[in-house]
C-alpha cells in the first residue's frame, strides 16, 4: 500500500517536473467587452488547443518553454494571431484579447435597394431587410453574406417576422411590420455591435419573433476609442462611400461621446438611370453613474435615390440587357428618373441602464421618431401612357409584321422609345390649354392656362412614433435567469401626395379620371368634395390624405433554467393592438365614409415559446424549440382602399403561427457542425391589393383572406479547420414552403365599392411560396495568413425560387371554357419557377499597421463569372385578358441578379 502511494507520488513528481507548469492564459472579448464564448485558442503546429468558457477565459498548458504562435478563432470574427514567448514554468497572462468582427462590407440598407419591388399599382414598396449578421452562427453568417443578395430568406419567412431592436427598442414600421435598415443606413460603425438569434432562440431583451431577432447595442462607451475613416469604391447602387466616426470611449469623468457621419453616392449605379445620394449622421452621448448608464442616441439617414423597376422578358431581350430600367429617360442631355425614393426619419433614443444590483438590470428606452418618407411617380390624365414598356408599345402588340420589325429595331437602340420620352410629356402639357369654371369650388371663379396632362407626384407616408420599452434582466441564482418587459408604442403614418413638377403646365385639377368616365356627376369625380375642382400647383397636397394610427402595448416574460446538462427556457407575451384611419378629404365616390375617424379595430394577441438545450458533452448539443403566437393583421392588409375610404376587410382576424424546430450542434476545435429541422405554419393571413381587372373593366380592390402556409425544411452548416491556415465552410438550406389552404377572395370595384365577387375560392393549395429560393447552398474556403491578411472564395447556389403569382388566374373564371390539362390550361394555372444558378465570390482582406494607424483594406468581387441570368424575383401581372385568356398578353416581369460586382474598402483607425 505504502509502495503504491510512493509510486503515485513519485510519478506525480515526475509529471510535475517533466511536464512543466508552463501555461498561457487569457480572456477573449469582443468590441463591446462581452466575452466571446466558445472561441478556439490553439498553438499552431501542435495539437494544443482549448475553447473559451462562458466568461471568455482560456488556459493552455505547454510542454516546454519557447516561442509559439497562438491563434484565436471564432465565427464572425477576424482570426487573431500572435507570437508568444514563454519561459519555463511561467504562466503567461495575455490579458484581454479583443476580437474584430468580420465586416465584409455588406450594407443591409443596400440590400433593400438593390431589390426594388414596387407592387403593381404602386400601393407601397416591398422592402426586404438585410439579413441578420454579426452572428456567431455559421449558418446565419453565410446566409447574410453570401446568399442575401440572391434574395434568400431564412426559412422563407416574410421580413416582418424578424425583430430588430436598438437598446431594447423594436425598430420596425408598425403599419406593415417590416424593418427598414435604411433608417440607419451608412452608420455601420455605430450599429456594428449586435447579437442575432435565429428562429426561436432565446433573446435577453425581447420575446422576439418567428424568424429571429437582433439586438443592436448602441452605447458610446462601447465604441472603439479614436477615429475611424473609411472610403469605399463599388459598383452597386452607390459607387463611393465615405464614413467618419470619432469616439472618445469612456472618459475618466465617465462621459462618452461619439459622432459619426457618412455619405454614399453615385451619379448612376449598376442599373442605368439610378442615382444615389445618401447621407447619415449620428451623435451619441453617454454618462455613466454609479449604477446608471444614461445614453442619448440621435441619428438620421437622409437619402434620395432613383429606383429601378422590373419589366417583361420581351423588353429585356429587345434591349439586350437584364438590367433595363423603365423608370428613366433623357431630358436636356441628362438622365431623369421618374421614381425617386427619398426619406429622412431622424430617431432619438434615450436609454437608461440601471444596474440595480449585480444580478439585476433594468433597461429603459424612450424613442421618438418623425420624418419624411416617400417616392415620386408619374401621373397622367387624358394622355397616352408614358411608360416606355407599356404593352401596346411593344412589337408583340403589332399586327403588321413590317411595323413590328421597325418597332423592334428602334426600340432596341433608340432611348427616345425605350425610355421615358420627357420631351413628349412637356409637349402634351403645352397642347392642353383649358378653362376651368368654378375652380376650387368658388362660383364664378375661372382659371385659365395650360392644364397638366402629365405630372410628377410625390407619394408620401411620413412616420411619427413615440415609444417606451422597459426590460428587466435578473439572475436569481447562478442557474436561473428571468427577464421581462413592457412595451408601449404610438405610431402614425401620414399618407398623402404632393405635386412635385407640373412639367411645363400651369395647373393640375384634382379629379379622378376613371370616375369621370364611369359616372355622370362631376361630384363623384372629386377627390375632395370640400374643395371641388381643386386647382393644384407645385407643392400642393392633393389626391388623398389620411393618417394610419396604430397603438400597441405588450408585456412579456421569460425564464431560463440552466442545469448541468440541460438548459430550459420558456417565454410568453400578451399584446394589445388598436388601429384606425383618419381621413382629411371627403372623397366624391364615398362622401359618407372617407372623412374623419374610421371604426377602431382592436386585437388581443398572445404568444408562448419553449426551448430545451441538451448539452450532451462540452462539444455536442441538441436543441428543441416550439412556439405558438397570434399577431394582429397589419394596417395595410386590413383597410380595403385607405386612400379613398374607411372600409375594412370583412371578418378581420389575427393570424396564428405555430412553429417547432430541433437541431444538433457540434463544436469541436477543428470542426463546427449543425443540422436543424423546422416546421412552421401560418394561418389566417390577409392580403389586400389593387389593380385594373380586365374582366370587370374596372379598378378593383382584391382582398384575400384565409391564407395559410406551411414552411418546413432542413438547415445544414459546417465550418472545418483543414489546417491552421485553411478553413472550409459550407451551408445549405433545403426548404419546402407552400400554401396549405384555398384562400377566399372578395373583389370590390375601387370606385364604388360594388361587390363583384364575395369569398370566392382561389385554387392555390399546394402552390409554393414565391419570392425566395427554397434551395440554397454556399461553400467556401478561407486562407488566413500569418502576415495579417486573409482571403477566400465562395460558391453559391440558389434554386426553386418561384414567380409571385396572380391569384385571379387560379379561379374558375380565368379558365372558363378551357379543357383541363391542355396547353393553354397549364399556361394559365401552373406556377412558374424562376431561373436559379451558381455564382462565385472572392475576397481579400489585409490589415496594415503603420505607427499608430491601423488600416484595413478589403477587396471583394461578387459574381466573378458575371452570371446575369439568375432571376432574383418577379411577378405575374395582375392584369389578365379574360377575353383571349392568353396569359402572354400581360406577361410576367422579372428582376435579375447583378453581374460582376466589386467592393473595395479602406478603413483607417487611429
Amino acid at each position: 500500500m505504502k509502495q503504491k502511494l510512493f509510486l503515485v507520488l513519485g510519478l506525480m513528481f515526475l509529471f510535475s517536473v517533466g511536464f512543466s507548469q508552463t501555461k498561457i492564459i487569457g480572456k477573449v472579448l469582443d468590441q463591446t467587452n462581452s466575452p466571446v464564448v466558445g472561441a478556439t485558442v490553439q498553438i499552431l503546429s501542435t495539437d494544443i488547443s482549448t475553447q473559451t468558457n462562458a466568461q471568455g477565459n482560456f488556459e493552455l498548458t505547454l510542454p516546454k518553454a519557447g516561442e509559439y504562435q497562438l491563434l484565436v478563432t471564432a465565427t464572425g470574427f477576424i482570426d487573431y494571431l500572435t507570437q508568444v514567448k514563454v519561459s519555463q514554468n511561467q504562466v503567461l497572462n495575455l490579458g484581454n484579447i479583443v476580437m474584430q468582427p468580420i465586416e465584409l462590407n455588406q450594407d443591409e440598407a443596400e440590400l433593400e435597394v438593390s431589390q426594388d419591388e414596387v407592387s403593381q399599382e404602386e400601393l407601397g414598396e416591398e422592402n426586404i431587410s438585410g439579413l441578420l449578421h454579426g452572428s456567431r452562427d455559421v449558418f446565419l453568417s453565410a446566409a447574410a453574406y453570401n446568399l442575401g443578395m440572391l434574395r434568400f430568406r431564412v426559412r422563407g419567412y416574410d421580413n416582418m417576422y424578424n425583430e430588430v431592436d436598438i437598446n431594447g427598442m423594436p425598430m420596425e414600421n408598425m403599419d406593415n411590420g417590416r424593418v427598414y435598415w435604411s433608417l440607419w443606413g451608412g452608420l455601420n460603425n455605430v450599429t456594428r455591435y449586435r447579437t442575432s438569434y435565429l428562429g426561436l432562440e432565446r433573446n435577453d431583451l425581447t420575446f422576439g419573433n418567428i424568424a429571429g431577432s437582433t439586438n443592436i447595442d448602441m452605447f458610446p462607451s462601447k465604441f472603439r476609442k479614436g477615429y475611424n475613416v473609411t472610403y469605399s469604391l463599388t459598383n452597386r447602387t452607390y459607387r463611393q462611400r465615405l464614413m467618419f466616426t470619432y469616439s472618445t470611449g469612456l472618459l475618466p469623468n465617465n462621459w462618452a461621446f461619439t459622432v459619426s457621419a457618412s455619405h454614399r453616392w453615385s451619379q448612376e449605379g449598376y442599373i442605368p438611370g439610378t442615382f444615389y445620394d445618401a447621407w447619415a449622421y449620428y451623435i451619441g452621448v453617454e454618462k455613466q453613474l454609479k449604477r446608471h448608464s444614461i445614453v442619448m442616441n440621435l441619428f438620421g439617414a437622409p437619402i434620395r435615390r432613383g429606383k429601378a423597376g422590373a419589366t417583361v422578358q420581351e423588353v429585356y431581350d429587345l434591349v439586350g440587357s437584364h438590367y433595363y430600367n423603365p423608370y428613366w429617360g433623357w431630358q436636356n442631355g441628362r438622365k431623369r428618373n421618374s421614381r425617386i425614393a427619398h426619406s429622412h426619419i431622424p430617431v432619438l433614443l434615450l436609454t437608461d441602464v440601471w444596474n440595480i444590483d449585480d444580478n439585476t438590470k433594468l433597461t429603459t428606452t424612450l424613442s421618438l421618431r418623425g420624418g419624411v418618407n416617400g417616392a415620386t411617380a408619374l401621373n397622367w390624365y387624358n394622355a397616352p401612357d408614358p411608360r416606355p414598356d407599356y404593352y401596346r408599345y411593344l412589337p408583340s402588340y403589332m399586327t403588321n409584321e413590317e411595323s413590328a420589325q421597325i418597332v423592334a429595331d428602334l426600340f432596341a437602340t433608340d432611348s427616345s422609345y425605350n425610355q421615358i420620352n420627357w420631351s413628349r410629356l412637356y409637349d402634351a402639357n403645352r397642347s392642353s390649354y383649358e378653362v376651368i369654371e368654378n375652380a376650387n369650388g368658388i362660383a364664378g371663379n375661372t382659371v385659365e392656362g395650360y392644364r397638366a396632362q402629365y405630372i410628377v407626384e410625390d407619394r408620401r407616408y411620413d412616420q411619427r412614433e413615440v415609444a417606451l420599452a422597459s426590460i428587466l434582466n435578473k439572475t436569481i441564482k447562478d442557474n436561473l435567469k428571468v427577464d421581462g418587459g413592457f412595451l408601449a408604442r404610438y405610431y402614425v403614418t401620414k399618407d398623402f401626395k404632393k405635386l412635385v413638377d407640373l412639367l411645363g403646365a400651369d395647373y393640375w385639377v384634382d379629379v379622378d379620371k376613371y370616375a369621370e368616365r364611369d359616372f355622370g356627376s362631376p361630384d363623384s369625380a372629386q377627390n375632395d368634395l370640400q374643395i371641388p375642382n381643386h386647382i393644384i400647383k407645385q407643392g400642393d397636397v392633393f389626391g388623398y390624405k389620411y393618417d394610419a394610427i396604430i397603438v400597441n402595448s405588450r408585456t412579456w416574460a421569460q425564464a431560463l433554467w440552466s442545469l448541468p446538462h440541460v438548459d430550459l427556457y420558456g417565454a410568453g407575451y400578451l399584446s394589445y393592438t388598436s388601429f384606425w384611419r383618419y381621413g382629411y378629404m371627403k372623397n366624391g365616390r364615398f362622401p359618407n365614409n372617407s372623412l374623419g375617424k374610421s371604426k377602431v379595430n382592436n386585437f388581443f394577441n398572445y404568444g408562448v415559446k419553449f426551448g430545451v438545450t441538451g448539452k450532451i458533452t462540452g462539444r455536442h448539443y441538441v436543441v428543441v424549440h416550439a412556439a405558438y403566437m397570434t399577431e394582429a393583421p397589419t394596417f395595410m392588409n386590413s383597410f380595403v382602399s385607405p386612400r379613398t375610404r374607411n372600409d375594412v376587410v370583412d371578418n378581420l382576424k389575427s393570424e396564428k403561427i405555430m412553429s417547432v424546430d430541433g437541431g444538433y450542434y457540434l463544436r469541436a476545435p477543428r470542426l463546427k457542425f449543425n443540422v436543424t429541422l423546422y416546421y412552421t405554419e401560418f394561418k389566417d393571413r390577409t392580403k389586400v391589393r389593387s389593380f385594373y381587372h380586365d374582366g370587370y373593366r374596372a379598378f378593383v380592390n382584391y382582398v384575400l383572406t384565409g391564407i395559410n402556409t406551411a414552411h418546413q425544411g432542413i438547415e445544414l452548416a459546417m465550418e472545418a479547420k483543414i489546417s491552421s491556415a485553411l478553413t472550409a465552410t459550407a451551408v445549405g438550406s433545403f426548404g419546402y414552403y407552400r400554401y396549405t389552404s384555398r384562400p377566399l377572395v372578395t373583389i370590390t370595384v375601387d370606385n364604388s365599392s360594388e361587390v363583384l365577387a364575395k369569398d370566392k375560392e382561389v385554387y392555390v393549395k399546394g402552390f409554393l411560396v414565391p419570392g425566395t429560393p427554397q434551395t440554397a447552398a454556399s461553400a467556401g474556403l478561407r486562407y488566413n495568413s500569418a502576415h495579417y491578411w486573409f482571403a477566400g472564395f465562395n460558391v453559391n447556389y440558389v434554386e426553386d425560387n418561384y414567380l409571385d403569382f396572380n391569384p385571379e388566374r387560379r379561379t374558375p373564371e380565368a379558365v372558363a371554357y378551357i379543357l383541363p390539362g391542355t396547353e393553354q390550361w397549364n399556361e394559365i394555372i401552373m406556377e412558374q419557377k424562376l431561373k436559379g444558378g451558381v455564382t462565385a465570390d472572392a475576397y481579400f482582406v489585409k490589415s496594415i499597421k503603420f505607427r499608430q494607424y491601423l488600416a484595413y483594406l478589403s477587396i471583394s468581387v461578387n459574381n466573378i463569372f458575371n452570371n446575369q441570368n439568375i432571376q432574383t424575383g418577379g411577378y405575374e401581372q395582375l392584369r389578365f385578358d379574360t377575353q383571349t385568356q392568353d396569359p402572354n398578353k400581360f406577361p410576367p416581369k422579372y428582376y435579375y441578379y447583378y453581374g460582376r460586382q466589386y467592393f473595395i474598402n479602406l478603413s483607417i483607425r487611429f
Binding site: V229, T248, H263, D277, T399, N400, E401, S403, I406
Partner: protein, 440 residues
C-alpha cells in the same frame, strides 16, 4: 470640452470634404418643343392629287414613290369624338390618317403643321371615303387599317415648327360634295331639327356607349347628319337649342354626308331659332297614318282612313273604303293635317297624289282657317272646298297628282280629306305624298 471641439471640427472638415466632388445634381430644365426646325422635308404633291391616285375600282393602294404631303391638323381627339384618327387639310383638300395611338392631340394638336412621308403607307377606301393608313393582319387576312407603332408613325409624320390657328371655311349645304371631304367647315345659320331638341349629343351610358346621329337644317330646309361618338366627353350634354354657326369636319359614310364636331366649344349656336320654310311631306314611308300630327276623325260609321302598305306611289299610302264584310256601310271620315302656320310663307300651296276605284261619292278636299281642333266643332267650322286633279279614265287605281292648290296665309290652317259613302255604294280612295310647301 477640448475633445468635443476637436471632434466637431474634424466632423465639420470631413463633411466639407464629403460634399466636394460628391454632389448629385437634380434640377431639370424645361426641354424645347420637339419639331423639325430646319424644315428639311418639303411636300411634292397636294392632298387632292394624293386622293386622285386611288382609282374607283381599287380599295387599297400602297404608295411606292417618295411622295410627301403637307397639311394642318384640324381634328382633335381631346374631347373623345375622334379616336385613333388624325384629320389634316391643305389648300386643296383634306384627308383622314388612321394612327394606332390614343390622345393624338398631345402630339399633334389642332393647328400643328405636319409633313407626311407617304412612301410605304396605304390609301384605302373605307365606306366610300378615302383615308390614309396601313395594313394589318386579321387572322391571316390583310386588311386596311391604322399605322401601328410610334416608331413607324414618327418615320412618316414629321412635325414642323409651325402651329397656326386654322379657320374653317364657310359653306352652304348645296356646296357639299366630295371635294370638301375632311375639310374644316362652317355652316351658318343652321340649327338642329325640332324633334331632336332636348336630346344629348350621344349615349354614353349604354354598355358599350352608343353614337347618335343628329340632323342640322338650314334656312332652306336642307338637312345634314351630325354624328357623335358615345365616348365623347360631351356626349351627355344637350345639343344646342339655338341657331347659328356650326363648325366641324365633313365626312361621309357610304352615300350619306356627315359632320363631326371636335367640341361644342367651337360652335356658336346661341341665336334665336329660325323658321324653317314650309315643307311638309306626308308620304307614309314610316308606316304610320298619323305621324307628324295628322289625325283621323270618323264622324259617321266605323270606317277609318288607314295605312296600307301595298298600294301607294310608291307603296305606303292612306286608304278609305266603305265596303266592309261584303256590303257597303254608311261612312263619313276625315283625314286632317296638323295645324299649319302659313303666315311666314310667301306662296303656300299643297298637292297630293291620288288614285281611286269603284263608284260612289267623290273625295272632297277642304281647307279651313277657323276650326278649333275639336271633333264636336268639326262641321261648324268653315271648310273651303278645293278642286283637284284626278284620273278621269274609267280605269281603277291610276295615280295622278292633284296639282298645286293655293292656301291662305293664315295662322291656323287645316287641310282635310273627307271620304263619304252610303249603304248602297262607295268608292275606294288612296292618297299619298301630301306635300305642303312654299312655292317660290
Amino acid at each position: 470640452m477640448k475633445t468635443i471641439i476637436k471632434s466637431l471640427s474634424i466632423l465639420f472638415l470631413v463633411v466639407i470634404g464629403l460634399s466636394l466632388n460628391s454632389c448629385v445634381k437634380q434640377h431639370f430644365d424645361v426641354p424645347p418643343s420637339n419639331c423639325d426646325t430646319l424644315d428639311t422635308i418639303k411636300p411634292n404633291i397636294t392632298i387632292k392629287q394624293l386622293k386622285q391616285m386611288l382609282p374607283l375600282s381599287v380599295d387599297t393602294l400602297k404608295i411606292e414613290d417618295n411622295l410627301v404631303i403637307c397639311g394642318n391638323v384640324i381634328s382633335t381627339d381631346r374631347y373623345g369624338n375622334f379616336y385613333k384618327e388624325l384629320v389634316i387639310q391643305d389648300s386643296t383638300a383634306g384627308i383622314s390618317i388612321l394612327l394606332d395611338q390614343t390622345y393624338l392631340y398631345t402630339m399633334y394638336p389642332q393647328g400643328q403643321r405636319i409633313v407626311v412621308r407617304l412612301k410605304g403607307l396605304y390609301l384605302g377606301r373605307s365606306h366610300g371615303v378615302i383615308k390614309l393608313g396601313s395594313t394589318y393582319d386579321d387572322n391571316g387576312v390583310t386588311r386596311f387599317g391604322r399605322i401601328q407603332g410610334q416608331e413607324v408613325i414618327d418615320q412618316h409624320i414629321i412635325k414642323t415648327c409651325q402651329n397656326q390657328d386654322v379657320e374653317p371655311i364657310l359653306i352652304t349645304m348645296d356646296q357639299i360634295n366630295d371635294d370638301l371631304l375632311y375639310r374644316y367647315v362652317k355652316l351658318n345659320p343652321v340649327e338642329f331639327v325640332d324633334d331632336e331638341l332636348g336630346t344629348t349629343w350621344a349615349n354614353p351610358y349604354a354598355d358599350p356607349p352608343q353614337p347618335v346621329n343628329h340632323h342640322l337644317v338650314d334656312t332652306n330646309g336642307n338637312e345634314i347628319i351630325v354624328r357623335t361618338s358615345g365616348y365623347a366627353s360631351f356626349a351627355a350634354e344637350q345639343i344646342p337649342e339655338g341657331s347659328g354657326e356650326f363648325v366641324g369636319i365633313l365626312g361621309k359614310y357610304n352615300t350619306d354626308y356627315q359632320l363631326y364636331v371636335n367640341t361644342p366649344k367651337e360652335l356658336d349656336m346661341t341665336h334665336d331659332r329660325f323658321q324653317l320654310p314650309l315643307n311638309i311631306m306626308k308620304d307614309f314611308s314610316d308606316g304610320s297614318l298619323t305621324s307628324g300630327g295628322w289625325q283621323n276623325i270618323a264622324l259617321e260609321g266605323s270606317v277609318n282612313w288607314t295605312y296600307q302598305s301595298q298600294s301607294g306611289n310608291p307603296p305606303g299610302c292612306a286608304v278609305a273604303k266603305n265596303y266592309v264584310g261584303g256590303s257597303h256601310v254608311q261612312a263619313d271620315v276625315w283625314f286632317i293635317s296638323p295645324a299649319l302656320d302659313l303666315t311666314q310663307a310667301q306662296n303656300p300651296v299643297f298637292n297630293f297624289d291620288n288614285a281611286h276605284g269603284y263608284s260612289g261619292d267623290w273625295l272632297r278636299v277642304y281647307y279651313c282657317t277657323n276650326w278649333d281642333g275639336t271633333q264636336g266643332n268639326l262641321l261648324s267650322a268653315n271648310w273651303t272646298l278645293v278642286q283637284f286633279n284626278s284620273d278621269s279614265s274609267n280605269t281603277f287605281w291610276v295615280w295622278k297628282n292633284s296639282g298645286d292648290i293655293a292656301l291662305p296665309k293664315e295662322q291656323t290652317v287645316y287641310i282635310a280629306f273627307r271620304y263619304t259613302g252610303s249603304t248602297t255604294d262607295g268608292m275606294t280612295w288612296e292618297i299619298d305624298n301630301i306635300h305642303i310647301f312654299d312655292k317660290k
